[in-house]
C-alpha cells in the first residue's frame, strides 16, 4: 500500500484524533498558565435610606465587575505562570504537613487527598480483579457445557451496565437501612452507618469496581483457558502433579500475557476512577483526581468555571498516565524493533 492510499484510509481518523484529542491537550497545557477573570473596578456608591427629616446616606467603596456596552462582563486573560499549579498543590502547606508528619493536614488539600485515594484504589483493586477474574474463569471452565452460555450471560451484566447506574444500584442496597446494611446489622448486632466515614465508602467503591471489572477479566481468561495445551496437562497428571501445581506451573504461565493485558487495561481505567464518586455522592469524604477536574469544570453558584485550575489539575493527572504507560510502551517498542 503506498503512502497516498494509506493516508486516504487513515486520514479522517487521524484528523479527528488530532483535532479532538491532541489539540485539546495542547490547549489544556496552555490554559494551565493563564487565568481568565472579570476585570473589577472600585466605585463609590451612595446608598440612602429614608429617615425622619433627612435621608440617611452611606457612601462605601464597592468592587464590581466592569461591563461593556452590551452589559456583559469584560474578562481579561493574563499569564500567571505556575500560580494555578500552586493553587492546586499548595506546596508550602503540603510540605509543612509532610515534615510534621501530619497526615490529617495533608488530606485537607484536595489534590493530595484525591491522589491518595486514586492510588490506593488502583493498587488494591488490581490484584482483586485479576484474582476474581481468574477464579470465575476457572469456575466457568469447570461447569457443564450446557450452562456456560447462561452463566456468561449473567456474568456480563455487571460489566455491561452503565457505570453510574451500577454504582447507584450498589448504593441503594446499602444506603440508610438498605437491605444489605440491615442484614449486616442483624448479623453483627450493632448499628452500622456505611456512609458516615471515608473508609467504608472506599471499601464499597472497591467492591463495586471488582464486581464491575471481574467479568471482563473472567471472559478474557476463559478464552485463554480454551487454548491451554491438554497434552501437557495430562503429562503433568501422569508425573503426579497436584491440581494446584498444574494451575501454578502450566495454566498461569500460559495465561500470563492475558493477565498482563488485563492488568494494564485495569490500571488505565481505575486510575480514571470517577463514576464511583458521583454514584455514591461521596465528595464530602472521598474524591479522585478525575473527579477533582470535573468539579473545577462544573460552574459554581456564580456560574464561573475554574478552567485554569482544572487544566493544572489535568496536567498533574497526566503525569500519572505517563508513568503508567512507560513500561508497556517500552515493551511494544522492543517487540516492534525485534519484529523487523
Amino acid at each position: 500500500m503506498n503512502f497516498r492510499t494509506f493516508a486516504a484510509f487513515v486520514g479522517p481518523s487521524v484528523f479527528m484524533m488530532l483535532l479532538f484529542i491532541a489539540f485539546p491537550l495542547v490547549s489544556v497545557f496552555k490554559q494551565s498558565f493563564y487565568v481568565t477573570q472579570p476585570i473589577y473596578e472600585t466605585v463609590e456608591k451612595e446608598t440612602c435610606t429614608p429617615g425622619f427629616l433627612t435621608q440617611t446616606c452611606v457612601t462605601e467603596q464597592v468592587s464590581q465587575p466592569m461591563l461593556d456596552d452590551h452589559g456583559e462582563i469584560i474578562t481579561q486573560t493574563q499569564y500567571v505562570g505556575l500560580q494555578s499549579y500552586r493553587n492546586v498543590l499548595e506546596p508550602e502547606r503540603a510540605w509543612r504537613a509532610i515534615s510534621d508528619g501530619s497526615w490529617h493536614v495533608l488530606s485537607t488539600i484536595n489534590f493530595w487527598k484525591a491522589l491518595r485515594f486514586t492510588l490506593t484504589f488502583t493498587l488494591i483493586t488490581l490484584p482483586l480483579v485479576v484474582g476474581c477474574g481468574l477464579g470465575i474463569a476457572i469456575l466457568i471452565n469447570n461447569a457443564a457445557k450446557t450452562i456456560r452460555g447462561p452463566v456468561i450471560f449473567v456474568s456480563l451484566l455487571p460489566f455491561i451496565i452503565t457505570p453510574v447506574i451500577g454504582v447507584l444500584s450498589i448504593n441503594w442496597l446499602f444506603r440508610g437501612d438498605g437491605i444489605l446494611t440491615a442484614m449486616m446489622e442483624w448479623w453483627l448486632n450493632r448499628d452500622i452507618a456505611l456512609f458516615a466515614q471515608a473508609w467504608t465508602i472506599e471499601l464499597l467503591m472497591m467492591l463495586y469496581r471488582v464486581w464491575h471489572v471481574a467479568p471482563f477479566a473472567a471472559i478474557i481468561f476463559y478464552a485463554g483457558l480454551q487454548t491451554v495445551n491438554q497434552d501437557s496437562l495430562e503429562s503433568a497428571v501422569i508425573d503426579g502433579a497436584t491440581r494446584w501445581q498444574r494451575l501454578k506451573y502450566i495454566v498461569i504461565p500460559h495465561l500470563m500475557p492475558l493477565i498482563i493485558f488485563v492488568a494494564m487495561i485495569h490500571l488505565m481505567d481505575s486510575y480514571r476512577v470517577f463514576e464511583e464518586i458521583v454514584g455514591f455522592s461521596s465528595q464530602g469524604y472521598v474524591i479522585s483526581l478525575q473527579w477533582l477536574t470535573f468539579d473545577y469544570l462544573t460552574p459554581d453558584q456564580a456560574g464561573n468555571r475554574s478552567i485554569s485550575r482544572a487544566s493544572a489539575n489535568s496536567m498533574l493527572t497526566m503525569i500519572g498516565v505517563v508513568i503508567l504507560l512507560i513500561l508497556p510502551l517500552r515493551r511494544t517498542w522492543r517487540d516492534h524493533k525485534g519484529g523487523h
Binding site: 479522517p12 469456575l139 453510574v164 447506574i165 444500584s169 478525575q290 498516565v321 504507560l325
Partner: protein, 384 residues
Amino acid sequence: MSSRALRQPFSLRLTSNIFLALWCLIAAFPIFWIVVMSFKSPVDAFDSNALNVIFGPATLGGGKGLSLLDIVLGIAVIWATIVVATKTLPSMVKSYSGPGQEWFVWVIGALVVLVGFLLAFFVILPAILNVLNPWFGPLGRDVLGLTTEHYKTVWIDRGFSNNFKNSLIVTTGVVTVSLTVGTLAGYGLARSGSTLAFWILIVALVFRALPHSVLVAGYLPVFVNSAEWLAPILGENAPTLYGKPFAVIAVLVAINQPFTIWMLRSFFQNIPAELDEAARVDGCSHFQAFRRVIMPVMWPGVITTGLFSFLLAYNDFLVTALLLDAQNQTMVPAIVGMFNRETTTTDQVVAVAAAVSITAPLIFLVLIFQRQIVSGLTAGAVKG
C-alpha cells in the same frame, strides 16, 4: 475435558458449581433488586426487610397488585413471545427473505413481534384479567404488590422521554460516524506494515489512557466561546458549540477512536490479505478492493466494534454532563441529577425506575449479541 486423567472428583465439581452459582447471584443481584424496587411504593422499596420489598405489603395496601392468575398468564405471554422470537421468527424470516435483504426482513419481523408483545401484554391481557379475576375467587385475589406508577412519573411527568431522545441522537451519531471513520482507518492500519502505522497505533494507545476530564477541560472554553471564533468563518449565525448534541457526538467519536481502530485492525488482520491481493490482481484499486471484497466479509467485526461504541456513548456521564445544557441532557446525567436533587423516598424510587429504564436495553443487547461481545473482548486481548 475428554481425557480420563483430567476428570475431576465429584466433590470438587460440586464445590466449583456452588461457587459459580454464588458468583451468578452476586453478579445479578443488584440489578435484579433495582428492578424489584422500581415496582414498589416508596415505603416498600426502602424497607429494611427483604421480604417486604419483594411482596410489597404497602403497595398491596394501596390497591395495586397482582393475583396468582395475573402472574401465571403474564409469564405465559412472556414465554410465548420468547418462543415466537427464537423459533418462529427465524424460520419465517428465512422463508420470506430473498438474498441480500435478510436484515430488512429481520428488522420488520422484530418490530412486529415487539408491537404484538406490547399490545398483548399491556392492552389485551389487563382487559381479559379484569373480567377473569373476580371469577376465580382466591386465585384472583392480589398477592404481590406491584405498581407501574413510577415509570409513568419518570417517562411522562419528568420528561425522561426527552432525555431518551437525546441519548438516541448521541448514540446513533457516535456509532455511525465512529464506524465509518474507524473502519477505513482500521483497514489501512491492518494492511500497511509501515513505521508510520505503528506510531499511529502507539499514539492511539496513549490517547486511550487519557482521563476524559482532561480532554473536556480543553473543549469547554473553546466550545463556550465558539460563536466568537467561528464568526469570521460562518458569519452572523455561528453556533455556540456548547450544549449541542452534534458537538458531543464529535467529541465522543474522537475519544472512542483509539479503541475503535485497535479493535477493527485486529479484525481486519484476521481477514487474509490474499483476498484483496487477488482483487488487486484482477485490476481493482485499493478502494475498489475494500468496497467489493472486504466489505462483504467484515460485518462481524464491524457489528462487534459498533456494540462497544454504542456502550461508550450510551454509558457516558462525564462528557455529556459537562458539554450539554439542560435541554439537551442525555439519560445518565439526568438520572444522576434526579438522584442527587431529590430527597424524599418517592423521588428516590422514581430515580430507581429511571435507572431500570436505562438498563433494560442493555440487558436485551447482551441477550442478542452475547457472542459478538465475547468475541470483541477476546479479539482485543489475544491480539493486543
